[in-house]
């Protein structure tokens, strides 16, 4: 059994006098200890809402969460607030995108880290702050003792993100969810943070869910990748398979539209037509159909099911009626 099993997770937002909006629609995936699973997609694809639902961070009113998310055999979605609070910070950790708005601006860094240790491990404040200093040191913050008494605004963006990771790791969680942890940072700092996360996963056997829009980050870090579009997982594969033979037209299109640092110069990009906003809300059929170069009539009528890839071997699931044909050479290579 996997550490986290998400099955058929759906999140529907309902507002008075408005049509219900399905943000997440039947998302399923597993995460094993020591594994890094990526949720990738553009804004509005439901990747963050998925993680919020798992962590029980969505509002109770006006939101309907269905399906199941089992953590080590315990159903998370039906836990009471108190039970969930005991697990968050203890067994489940989360790192958010914007460290400045997720840290409390009027509480010192030391106290924010120590707070978690006090709450979950029952240590005294003094003992907790000794541990906090160790944690800050471990995530690569120079001069950690002095930093304990400093406030978030006194730290740089990269240092704040490190502090946030320290808080998430304070009780050695078994599952860490990182929601765009490097999007607000510069590339050189991003490289530092990604190296830190990879090292932690390796050292402590933590399961990591990496939520990002950056396919480059995914390529370097994730073992398995889920590509989301319109609230659904449209393709799942191991990272090597996914990048070598993207089968879903959306994955294919995304890869073709990113300028690559190592690409020969002068190569033209082939963008996906339209934008995400074009087909929200969709009711039936594939959400990507209006932008899809491969769309056939069935696409707009019947919602495709998540099925094993019929053509390319390997553990890949695909939600598409008319996937991109793998280039002959690649197909041969994989089948043999």
């Amino acid at each position: 059994m996997a550490l986290l099993e998400v099955r058929d997770l759906s999140v529907v937002f309902k507002r008075k006098g408005e049509e219900p909006f399905t943000a997440v629609d039947g998302v399923s995936f597993d995460v094993e200890p020591g594994q890094t699973v990526g949720l990738v997609g553009e804004s509005g694809c439901g990747k963050s809402v998925t993680s919020m639902a798992i962590m029980g961070l969505l509002a109770k009113r006006g939101v309907k969460v269905s399906g199941s998310a089992k953590f080590d055999g315990t159903e998370l979605l039906t836990l009471s607030d108190k039970q969930m609070r005991d697990r968050r910070g203890q067994e489940l950790g989360m790192v958010f995108q914007d460290p400045l708005s997720s840290l409390n601006p009027v509480i010192s860094i030391g106290l924010q880290v120590a707070e978690v240790i006090e709450r979950h491990r029952g240590l005294s404040r003094k003992e907790a702050s000794v541990q906090a200093a160790e944690l800050l040191d471990k995530v690569g913050i120079p001069d950690p003792k002095r930093r304990l008494s400093e406030y978030p605004h006194q730290l740089s963006g990269g240092m704040r993100q490190r502090a946030l990771i320290a808080i998430a790791l304070a009780c050695r969680p078994r599952l860490l969810i990182a929601d765009e942890p490097t999007t607000a940072l510069d590339v050189t700092i991003q490289a530092q943070i990604l190296a830190l996360l990879a090292e932690l996963v390796k050292e402590t056997d933590t399961a990591l869910i990496m939520i990002t829009h950056d396919l480059g980050v995914v390529a370097g870090l994730c073992d398995e990748v889920n590509v989301l579009y319109g609230g659904r997982v449209v393709e799942r594969a191991g990272r090597h398979d996914l990048f070598r033979v993207p089968r879903h037209p959306y994955t294919h299109g995304l890869l073709a539209s990113i300028p690559r640092l190592d690409a020969p110069r002068g190569e033209r990009l082939s963008p996906i037509r339209g934008s995400v906003a074009d087909n929200i809300p969709w009711t039936q059929g594939c959400a990507f159909a209006p932008r899809c170069p491969n769309a056939i009539d069935t696409c707009v009528e019947v919602t495709p099911a998540m099925e094993p890839d019929p053509v390319v071997a390997g553990e890949r699931l695909l939600r598409c009626h008319n996937p991109v044909e793998p280039a002959d050479r690649v197909e041969q290579e994989i089948l043999t």
Partner: protein, 373 residues
């Protein structure tokens, strides 16, 4: 991209932009300066795309703005098509501005929400006397919209009715409306989703071919800059550390900072990612209000040497044709005569923020503090 002729369109010499840091209510004492741009020379040729990259706070946007005189430079001069802009003021400068336009990062905050697309586009034309009668203006507007790929029904609409990518197209159409020679695009695609980014990048390339434009593209995304630019300049803490054509900068980066920057950019290909050698820089960007002495990069540089690096600021010098670098040891690093070593991260500090003695002179932070409870 297009035919790059040898004639220079913009020449920047010794550009400096220092922003004063002020403290106190009554005296408004200047306690220091933020050295946003500190001595930059560059030239942009007619018809080429010059890409300026660097991390946040390196001064790339300020440099772009100072070139158009949107921010007054502290020192240095800008020569645009043979005319020195530094001494220009008022009406002649305003007329000159027709030829240099800007496209901003965030299309939502750079378009007036209460102006229709038509009014946004006509405004600039009117200001520069290009609005010569209803019929020709109407034709021109339709031309502009079709050039940037928007339907002609867009004229009556307002910015909020468009998606992010479409709004950026409006911003580009607005810049084009006055028939400029130079377009400075400050992070033109960073607010957009990846699938839409590619549309806008292609559009910028098409427009350049069609109208023979010269671009200065400012961005933090190295892959985007390399894709779109003919030549690339890399900035670090207010100075240019390397300049080369976009192939050279990727295949043979000479400055240690460029090397680190290149190695930090994730490539969407697991095969490449697995074998890639990463140069992880220690610590953060030092404060531009208190830049390190000598080479600005020496506090984080894995190739730092005992002598010169912390005392002497390296000048930008040409190592190979068209390839300039500001590093004392560039040849030695290139030929492998000196090796990278580990660097301990240093605390970054604003020196005007720490001097305890200074604070008594700096005055109260706000009026309420003076009055007391």
């Amino acid at each position: 991209m297009t035919q790059v002729t040898t004639s220079t369109l913009v020449e920047v010499e010794g550009m400096k932009v220092h922003f004063p840091i002020k403290r106190g209510v009554v005296l408004d004492k200047t306690v220091g300066y933020v050295y946003a741009v500190d001595g930059v020379d560059l030239s942009i040729r007619q018809g080429e795309t010059y890409g300026l990259v660097g991390e946040s706070g390196c001064g790339k946007s300020t440099l772009g703005r100072a070139m158009l005189k949107l921010t007054e430079p502290t020192a240095g001069k800008v020569v645009f098509d043979g005319v020195d802009l530094s001494s220009m003021k008022g009406e002649p400068l305003r007329t000159m501005r027709r030829r240099m336009q800007m496209v901003f990062q965030d299309p939502m905050s750079s378009l007036d929400p209460r102006q229709s697309v038509e009014s946004l586009l006509v405004e600039g034309m009117r200001a520069h006397g290009l609005d010569k009668g209803k019929e020709s203006t109407g034709r021109r507007l339709r031309e502009l919209l079709s050039a940037v790929g928007l339907p002609s029904t867009s004229l009556r609409k307002y910015p909020h009715e468009f998606s992010g990518g479409q709004r950026q197209r409006i911003g580009i159409a607005r810049a084009l409306s006055v028939e400029p020679d130079l377009i400075v695009a400050d992070e033109p695609v960073s607010a957009l989703d990846v699938s839409v980014q590619a549309q806008v990048i292609n559009l910028l390339e098409d427009l350049q071919t069609e109208f023979g434009l010269t671009y200065l593209v400012i961005a933090h995304d190295l892959a985007v800059v390399r894709h779109i630019s003919d030549r690339v300049g890399v900035m670090y803490l207010g100075g240019l550390v390397e300049e080369a054509n976009s192939d050279q900068i990727y295949t043979e980066p000479l400055h240690p900072y460029t090397k680190a920057l290149m190695s930090a950019v994730p490539v969407p290909d697991p095969v490449v990612e697995d074998v890639r050698e990463r140069i992880l820089l220690a610590g953060d960007l030092p404060s531009p209000a208190n830049p390190p002495t000598g080479c600005r990069f020496h506090t984080r540089c894995p190739w730092r040497q005992e002598s010169r690096c912390d005392t002497e600021r390296p000048a930008l010098r040409e190592l190979a044709p068209g390839h300039k670098v500001a590093c004392h040891w560039a040849e030695d690093i290139r030929d492998g005569r000196i090796r990278a070593h580990e660097v301990k991260p240093q605390l970054t500090q604003d020196d005007w923020d720490t001097g305890a003695d200074d604070n008594s002179l700096a005055g109260p932070a706000s009026v309420t503090e003076t009055l007391g409870p």
